[in-house]
């Protein structure tokens, strides 16, 4: 009955007293398994499972404790996310939360992590406010945030004297993205001459594109997410022919296939399977192909894997102790291996600093979508976003 | 004594068609006036102007000396002009009792009471029952209005008007479709109200014997205009009325009566 709320705490203490706790560690994973972000949810889940396996060497055990994880579908609805998160915390008594696919769902769950004093690894939700204004100390994010994207985007194109216009959907994601980009780009000496925001649900973006063309920028930097995209119309309006170069973040493979018109574009990406050159990624690609009949890991698959690896790494360091306070101390500033190389949880806001990739979209034989080809890796330091909490 | 209901040059035009054409009448209190005229003469439209369903293009309507030309139907009903409809117009999914009770409730002025239970107004139900008895419909009081036969709906229509208990009653063909047997009963009701002597009644009907029997005066509408206005005898003598409205058979009939 009444002790439930503090049970997490007591358990932790017990863990400290007993020399060897063999209770399994439980992780609750929140992801969109239905609804608009279903595809992202699936990527995270696959990655997470593979990550656990990799990090524990296939034993699914750390410091003598088994790791179990329970997946819940948030349906991309905040109220469902809260319901499911509470269930995980209350009934399954999980030690960690991981998730979720949407920023809204994640934001709604943040206070629960604090209330129940459990670590939440945010993956792949991108809103800056998660590690910014809405931050609490139980939150760690393995995903990159909007600002990191923006900094990477800026790094890819911004130089002294370059005139840039931006196009973004008119909601938080787009607005956050552009303001972060602007800051980063201006720091690099570029000039933002026009910001265009479009109704994300619109069928027609030509007016917005027209307006950008009127400004005659050197670059058009596009922040976009969601199925309904402006690529076709950018091509139809002959933006590139007018000498305006396009730049944007490369999305997941399904969305890449709609970017045919942007071949030749320079931009950045969070992940594409052949960009990171390390053993972990190689393992990921191989295992993923093996298990999911030849499919490649996609945009957020390594993120899921990273979340698992961060947890295992932290537990290794505490020797299986899941006490949150202790974990927080351990994880702040912790560096750990991931398919994207080393990441580090920044002490101030628990944001994982990580590599991003400056790329160019190219047509490749035998691949039916434009492929992001590496121009250069942007180091974690280079893409570090400002601290905003 | 001043007129209770009066119109001055009342006209209404629907897209070029003048349905009521400069009609001026004056009905003294407690008077029984009938309106006759061919189909489409403008009788119902005239009623609509009196009861506020329509706003005239020209002219004025007065009730007890006050102009009410632009008043809403709601306000006119509250002021004391009640009407029944030619095409039956009831609340189909409420019971007969509930239909009439709504009229009683309005008459009693209980309009915005939202905190008390409606059952604390038992007297409404009793009154409603009285009215239903009067029109011989009390045995159907729990039936849904939409399940009534046509004639029964007509009776309900009348019961609702009576329950409003207004000073002026506008009756639009109350007995259309009512069975031979029951017309006299309804006639009786109307007659009783007339005899009470405190109600003004305006009646539209095509049943001439009924009109002759009840009316103090009769007005005749013709293509929207007032053709004649006078006592039953005067009207029956009017040749235009004879030929254009009553037709051959009826003149015999009228002569007999």
């Amino acid at each position: 009955g009444s002790g439930t709320e503090k049970s997490g705490g007591t358990e932790g203490k017990e863990g400290k007293d007993e020399p060897k706790n063999t209770e399994p560690i439980k992780i609750g994973v929140l992801a969109s398994q239905t609804g608009g972000l279903e595809a992202y949810g699936k990527q995270t889940l696959r990655g997470f499972e593979l990550g656990l396996e990799y990090a524990t060497g296939g034993t699914n055990e750390v410091a003598g404790r088994k790791i179990e994880f329970i997946v819940e579908d948030t349906e991309t609805k905040p109220e469902v996310a809260v319901q499911k998160a509470t269930k995980l915390l209350e009934e399954d008594k999980v030690d960690f939360l991981v998730g979720s696919s949407s920023s809204g769902d994640t934001l709604a769950v943040l206070p629960l992590a604090e209330e129940y004093e459990k670590i939440m690894i945010v993956e792949p939700a991108v809103a800056d406010s998660i590690t910014g204004s809405e931050f609490n100390e139980y939150i760690f994010r393995t995903a990159r945030n909007s600002s990191q994207d923006a900094v990477a985007g800026a790094a890819a194109i911004a130089k002294k004297g370059v005139k840039i216009a931006t196009l973004a959907p008119d909601y938080s994601f787009g607005r956050d993205g552009v303001s972060a980009f602007k800051e980063a780009a201006e720091k690099l000496g570029a000039e933002i001459i026009h910001e265009e925001y479009a109704d994300p649900a619109a069928t027609d973006f030509t007016s917005n594109i027209q307006k950008i063309m009127d400004q005659k920028p050197d670059y058009l930097f596009v922040v976009w997410a969601g199925a309904n995209s402006p690529w076709n119309q950018i091509a139809d309006m002959k933006v590139q022919e007018k000498g305006i170069k396009i730049s944007t973040g490369a999305p997941d493979i399904a969305a890449l296939s709609t970017m045919e018109p942007l071949i030749g574009m320079e931009g950045f990406t969070v992940y594409y399977h052949d960009l990171p050159q390390n053993d972990i990624n190689k393992w990921l690609v191989d295992e993923h192909k093996k298990r999911f009949n030849g499919e490649l890991p996609d945009l957020f698959t390594p993120g899921g894997m990273t979340a698992a690896m961060a947890i295992v790494e932290a537990l290794k360091k505490t020797d299986g102790d899941a006490d949150s306070k202790k974990l927080i101390k351990t994880m702040e500033g912790m560096s750990f291996d991931t398919p994207k190389g080393k990441m580090t949880f920044r002490e101030e806001d628990h944001q994982a600093l990580q590599s991003l990739y400056a790329i160019k979209l190219e047509k490749k034989d035998g691949v039916n979508y434009p492929v992001p080809v590496l121009i250069r890796e942007l180091s974690p330091e280079e893409t570090a976003p400002p601290v905003r909490n | 004594m001043t007129a209770i209901l009066e119109t001055k040059d009342l006209s209404i035009t629907f897209g070029g068609h003048t349905a009521v054409d400069s009609v001026s009448i004056s009905v003294p209190p407690n008077h029984f006036k009938s309106i006759i005229g061919p189909n489409g003469a403008g009788k119902t439209t005239f009623f609509n102007l009196l009861s506020g369903q329509l706003i005239p293009t020209e002219g004025q309507v007065f009730f007890k000396g006050n102009e009410i030309t632009r008043l809403s139907p709601t306000k006119r009903t509250r002021a004391g002009i009640g009407r029944s409809f030619q095409i039956t117009n009831v609340f189909p999914n409420l019971t007969v009792m509930e239909n009439v009770r709504l009229a009683v409730q309005s008459h009693e002025g209980v309009r915005y009471q939202m905190l008390k239970h409606f059952r604390s107004y038992n007297q409404f139900e009793k009154q409603a029952e009285e009215w239903l008895k009067l029109v011989l419909l009390d045995d159907r009081k729990d039936a849904l209005a939409r399940n009534l036969a046509h004639g029964e709906k007509r009776k309900l229509e009348i019961a609702m008007l009576l329950a409003l208990n207004t000073e002026v009653l506008l009756l639009d063909e109350p007995t259309a479709g009512m069975s031979l047997e029951e017309v006299p009963a309804i006639l009786d009701v109307i007659r009783k109200i007339k005899q009470r002597g405190d109600r003004t009644i305006v009646l539209i009907e095509h049943k001439m014997d009924m009109i002759m029997d009840l009316s103090d005066t009769i007005m005749v509408l013709f293509n929207g205009a007032l053709l004649a206005d006078g006592t039953p005898e005067e009207i029956m003598k009017n040749e235009t009325v004879q030929s254009a409205y009553l037709g051959g058979l009826h003149s015999e009939h009228a002569a007999k009566a």
């Binding site: 595809a39 007016s207 027209q210 309904n228 709609t258 | -």
Partner: protein
């Protein structure tokens, strides 16, 4: 000047596209008075089946025909099993068609997977011409043309045959229409089938417009279609075209001149129209 022409042309084309999306609903909702919330499902199915046929056969034309046929078959099934029991009852219509909508859009994911799918224009329709500053996108001209043809065809059907009258009469008084010797159920089924076919056509043509189709596209565009039918005036086919074009143009011009209100463009337009013309642009006075 160039800007004005570009904005107008693109607004017009978008309007025509919206018209194609809404045309089916004009019949089903405007004329037959069925609050069909599954309409979006019908055109999402049109889009998926059409694009699938196009990519597997390589013939855009086959894709169009395939989409229309898919829509018609779905229309018949829907009418027969879902709509028929609930004619004239809006409350039940809302519930049952929302249920159908869920089934339809989830089935898409079962068959074609949850990922968005890219939808390309055929070569002969892709690209654009440029005259001075005026850019004419080929596919948009194609949409305008198709919209025009569909408009004329349906207008012919409604004006030259009794079908429009019979449907309107049937909605007002089904029993009476039957008493006049008309098999109204068959007529309703036919009209519903045509409406569903047009919805599917609209969906199919939408794909290449933005380059991508996805399972949830249905609900998004269905609301737009409802807006068009209502502000055009229920049951008025001309009204729907005009409303659609108005929506297209206002979207285009507002995005350019008052971008801050662009998000609210459709809702503002609808509010303004309905406050000043409560029966819709071409609706008979109620």
């Amino acid at each position: 000047m160039d800007v004005l022409i570009n904005l107008s042309l693109n607004g017009l084309a978008t309007g025509m596209l919206i018209f194609l999306l809404a045309a089916g609903l004009t019949l089903i909702f405007g004329l037959m008075d069925v609050l069909n919330f599954a309409h979006g499902g019908l055109f999402a199915w049109g889009a998926y089946s059409g694009v699938w046929i196009y990519t597997s056969t390589g013939s855009f034309f086959a894709g169009i025909i395939g989409a229309i046929l898919t829509g018609m078959v779905l229309g018949i099934v829907t009418e027969r099993w879902i709509i028929k029991p609930v004619y004239g009852n809006h409350v039940q219509q809302i519930l049952i068609t929302l249920g159908l909508m869920l089934v339809l859009s989830e089935m898409l994911k079962v068959i074609w997977g949850p990922n968005q799918i890219s939808a390309a224009t055929p070569d002969y329709l892709s690209g654009s011409w440029e005259f001075g500053g005026i850019i004419i996108i080929k596919y948009r001209m194609f949409i305008i043309a198709v919209g025009f043809v569909v408009f004329l065809a349906v207008q012919y059907l409604l004006k030259r045959t009794k079908i429009g009258l019979v449907v309107r009469a049937g909605v007002m008084n089904k029993e009476m229409v039957q008493s006049l010797g008309i098999n109204i159920q068959k007529v309703f089924m036919f009209v519903f089938m045509i409406g569903a076919g047009m919805a599917a056509l609209g969906g199919m043509l939408l794909g290449p417009y933005s380059g991508v189709i996805y399972a949830d596209m249905g609900m998004e565009f269905a609301i737009l279609a409802f807006i068009v039918v209502v502000i055009g005036g229920m049951g008025s086919f001309t009204g729907s075209v005009m409303a659609a074009i108005l929506v297209g143009l206002s979207g285009s011009f507002m995005a350019y001149y008052v971008p801050d209100l662009a998000l609210a463009a459709n809702m503002l337009l609808m509010a303004v129209v309905l406050i000043f013309r409560p029966q819709g642009l071409f609706g008979a006075k109620g």
